[in-house]
């Protein structure tokens, strides 16, 4: 046992098995118990696009300090089938404690495994009542190693299975207790102790994932219409809002396809709703013409895009930041748009809320760009503030002579809706006059194109500035956007570099003016992205003229880990220009 591990304030637990083996149950139990016990928790998963079988894993970090990124290191590993150890071989070290039935799990045991709690999980479970109790016994072992409060754990188990009959609940409690004593015994014998100190403030925190954070943001942003077609990894938002639709008076509809989804949303927005669609790259590709329509008829819509690796169907359940250029260019013709890319769950909440205001104010499509890693990761954050959730839809009561496409100084036509006031409200996908009737007056066409694009001036002025982490007098600047916020932050913490700062963008288009100033100050710039062609680097070059020479790119479908990011930053900074 290394002394490192004994002092660890941060424990990394991985559960790995086939879909359908109950990984999720163990994850939920542990994560909620950790959270209720006052620890910081982070959990993320990587899984295959199948309902049964395969090899999936959940990585949980429990910590005395904030943890919100993936770590490669595994302290406790629970492999639920024989392929699990092979699947995670690169992440297993001599410090990893592996729990399981050695004979069954470890056919080709990686040689680096030094600590094995050899428990006949299947036999134990059978004695209690069947194989289904394996995962709860295992959760008990993990709790025992960590010396969590057993009574609390039993209560969590009871709550978790409250819908089941009494006998099942009893057997699950028996399972957790038996597992606990095995884990406790092992940890006493081997002298393992983790230095986990509960954090008092954490009790006012909530444990949510990316999909829920976007969903909460949408509800707080006044979303009252949602139309979408299910597509991984964006479906979580559709599910979350649908489940709460009645309470929050949201008309939520599963459309027949993505084309219908965006067009329904535009219909609802035209009539005065705050509309949301949620999709992934393939779905967004189908929505292209609808996005262009939003630009032409100057009708607000918020579009959440959870990215996954493409092209085409790609890797449906994996992560990537490969659709920035798609979102930037989706829809033919020229019209303004805003692209927001939350880095933290707090961002996801506040930016989604803000997206509805921006969409209504400028009558444009606003994109929220996330990814599978972001959607499926959860950790504790302070409960969002819901005091100020009053929506201003920027709607006017129309007069008799109302013109929906009135040419104004700032390009924004007062927004009327049908049935509110005396005027008639028309919108047209053809080029149109101020009353939105078809025109082929080419001078008017020029004026209308300019009117629509003029809105970009104000949009740019109000762009959300990037966030600088680290010294103001940096020499090295690391650039990231969206979901890589925490992993880059933690990697830099680990590295402890003096003259290196991190600039994180949560608005990626249009870029705020200060972008250039930040970039020009640095001697050396490194950009990190989850794609193969450094799409954000290209956008920065286009917008600022600055060429970033060093890139850290990953596009195998898995998220960056802290260790990997630290190593790559270090390597990039050491390289000659």
């Amino acid at each position: 046992m290394s002394s490192n591990q004994n002092k660890r304030k941060d424990v990394s637990i991985v559960i790995c098995g086939a879909a359908g083996q109950g990984i999720k149950t163990v994850e939920k139990l542990l994560v909620h118990n950790f959270s209720h016990s006052g620890f910081h928790v982070f959990s993320t998963k990587e899984y295959m696009s199948r309902v049964r079988g395969g090899t999936n894993s959940v990585s949980i970090r429990v910590s005395s300090q904030k943890a919100a990124a993936l770590k490669d290191r595994i302290d406790i590993l629970l492999p639920l089938h024989s392929e699990a150890l092979g699947h995670l071989e690169k992440r297993i070290s001599s410090e990893t404690i592996v729990i399981g039935d050695k004979e069954k799990i470890c056919k080709d045991c990686p040689t680096q495994i030094k600590q094995f709690i050899d428990v006949p999980l299947e036999d134990l479970a059978r004695d209690i009542g069947g194989k289904i109790f394996i995962n709860i016994i295992a959760a008990g072992i993990i709790s025992g190693i960590l010396k969590l409060d057993l009574d609390k754990m039993k209560k969590d188990v009871k709550d978790f299975f409250s819908q089941k009959d009494k006998q099942i609940v009893e057997k699950n409690i028996q399972s957790i207790s038996q597992g606990y004593s095995k884990g406790e015994k092992f940890s006493d014998q081997k002298g393992i102790s983790f230095d986990l100190t509960p954090w008092t403030e954490i009790k006012n925190q909530v444990l949510i994932n990316g999909a829920e954070a976007v969903g909460f943001g949408a509800l707080a942003g006044g979303c009252d219409f949602l139309s979408s077609y299910p597509m991984s990894p964006s479906t979580g938002v559709l599910v979350f809002i649908s489940q709460h639709a009645h309470k929050f008076e949201v008309a939520a509809e599963q459309a027949e396809d993505e084309i219908s989804a965006i067009n329904m949303a535009l219909g609802a927005s035209y009539a005065g709703a705050r509309s949301l669609v949620t999709t992934s790259g393939g779905g967004l590709a189908l929505m292209g013409e609808g996005i262009s329509l939003a630009g032409m008829i100057e009708t607000p819509v918020v579009i959440h895009v959870a990215q996954r690796p493409g092209p085409a169907t790609g890797l449906p359940t994996r992560t990537e930041q490969g659709d920035l250029e798609l979102v930037l260019h989706a829809g033919h013709g020229e019209f303004p748009r805003i692209i927001l890319a939350p880095g933290s769950l707090e961002d996801a909440f506040s930016l989604t809320q803000k997206a509805f205001d921006l969409a209504d104010k400028f009558q444009i499509p606003v994109f929220i760009l996330t990814d599978q890693f972001f959607m499926d990761s959860y950790y504790n954050i302070p409960a969002p503030d819901f005091q100020n959730v009053q929506a201003n839809k920027h709607i006017i009561k129309t007069e008799n002579d109302y013109k929906r496409s009135l040419i104004t100084k700032d390009g924004i036509s007062p927004r009327g809706i049908p049935g509110y006031g005396e005027g008639l409200v028309g919108v047209d996908s053809d080029e149109h006059d101020e009353s939105s009737h078809i025109t082929e007056d080419l001078d008017l066409r020029t004026q209308m194109a300019e009117k629509r694009l003029k809105k970009m001036d104000q949009i740019k002025k109000q762009a959300i500035p990037p966030e600088l982490v680290g010294p103001e007098d940096y020499r090295n600047l690391i650039i990231g956007w969206g979901s890589t916020l925490h992993v880059i932050n933690e990697a830099l913490d680990v590295l402890g570099l003096k003259k290196t700062a991190f600039l994180h963008f949560k608005q990626v288009y249009p870029l705020p003016d200060e972008t250039k100033i930040y970039l020009e100050k640095a001697d050396q710039i490194v950009i990190a992205e989850h794609n193969a062609t450094s799409q954000f680097k290209k956008l920065i070059k286009l917008e600022t003229g600055i060429d970033i020479s060093k890139t850290i790119l990953k596009y195998n479908g898995l998220a960056f880990s802290v260790e990997e990011m630290a190593e790559k930053i270090n390597h990039a900074l050491e390289q000659e220009d």
Partner: protein
């Protein structure tokens, strides 16, 4: 109300002289006037094509969207403001070709909208290619040997999917077309009105006379509530039946199924959202 309540002054219409669209516009205005539906209570949603230009030619709110995509916005509008009368109107290419999937699912979803299709069995705006309803053997510059695809049968499809209301009209008969449109608008739920219409420029086969010779009104003994009979009727050609072919059993509309209008009739878009407390409560469970 008088029909001139919908008249617009000084409009430059893009329809050919003698086009069936003019008759349909007249019938529609009369129907609306007789039902006292004011322009400010009406939204006409259309796609792209000659027929889809109709909301530019009379007073109404309008959403002239994308090719084939009239039904989704119409559904969205109705969901958030059911007080509006919503008509989704376009041609056969738009509604049955480009927008075929939406047509299928609008029938299933059953929003309380009227779906009017100007069916001239040809593409007008793109100058004379086959449409989904073009008849076998119809020759065009693209279908040089004549159409070989099975003609799309909107009425049979609607009946097979248990549409709430399905009718066929003929633009040559303004009075009857008006009556059918009135019934469709008054019907609660999705209502299909397929209107046969001659295209004087690009369809020299299915002319005014052809439609006249190949259609016949349903007689008084016909029972539109009998689904099997309606399906049989919808399969008949030469003559094609005119009138209300099918009325489905009473069922909830899409807006009712949303479940947000049971107690509060106020449209969603006019409701004052009070979400602070609800959000506070919800987050506590996380």
């Amino acid at each position: 109300m008088k029909t001139n309540a919908y008249d617009m002054d000084d409009i430059d219409m893009a329809w050919c002289p003698g086009c069936g669209n003019f008759n349909i516009l007249k019938s529609l205005k009369k129907a609306l006037a007789e039902l006292s539906i004011e322009p400010k209570g009406l939204v006409v949603v259309s796609g792209i094509g000659q027929a889809a230009k109709i909301p530019h030619y009379f007073k109404t709110h309008f959403f002239n969207g994308l090719h084939g995509r009239a039904l989704p916005p119409a559904t969205g509008i109705k969901a958030v403001n059911p007080q509006l009368t919503v008509i989704a109107e376009s041609g056969d290419g738009d509604m049955y070709g480009e927008g075929g999937n939406h047509f299928l699912h609008a029938i299933r979803r059953n929003p309380d909208i009227t779906n009017i299709i100007h069916n001239n069995m040809v593409y007008g705006l793109t100058k004379g290619q086959a449409s989904p309803t073009s008849q076998f053997g119809f020759k065009t510059p693209v279908q040089t040997k004549g159409v070989v695809l099975e003609p799309f049968n909107p009425l049979a499809l609607a009946v097979s999917q248990n549409a709430s209301f399905a009718a066929r009209a003929f633009a040559g008969d303004e009075e009857e077309t008006k009556e059918i449109i009135k019934k469709a608008i008054q019907h609660k739920g999705y209502a299909l009105v397929d209107i046969f219409q001659p295209c004087v420029s690009f369809n020299k086969v299915n002319t005014f006379k052809w439609f006249k010779d190949n259609t016949a009104y349903l007689d008084d003994t016909y029972d539109p509530y009998d689904r099997r009979a309606a399906f049989e009727k919808s399969l008949e050609t030469h003559p094609f039946a005119l009138g209300v072919i099918y009325v489905g059993p009473p069922k909830n509309t899409y807006e009712q199924n949303i479940g947000l209008y049971d107690k509060d009739k106020n449209p969603l878009v006019f409701r004052e959202q009070k979400r602070s407390q609800k959000l506070q409560q919800l987050i506590q469970s996380f």
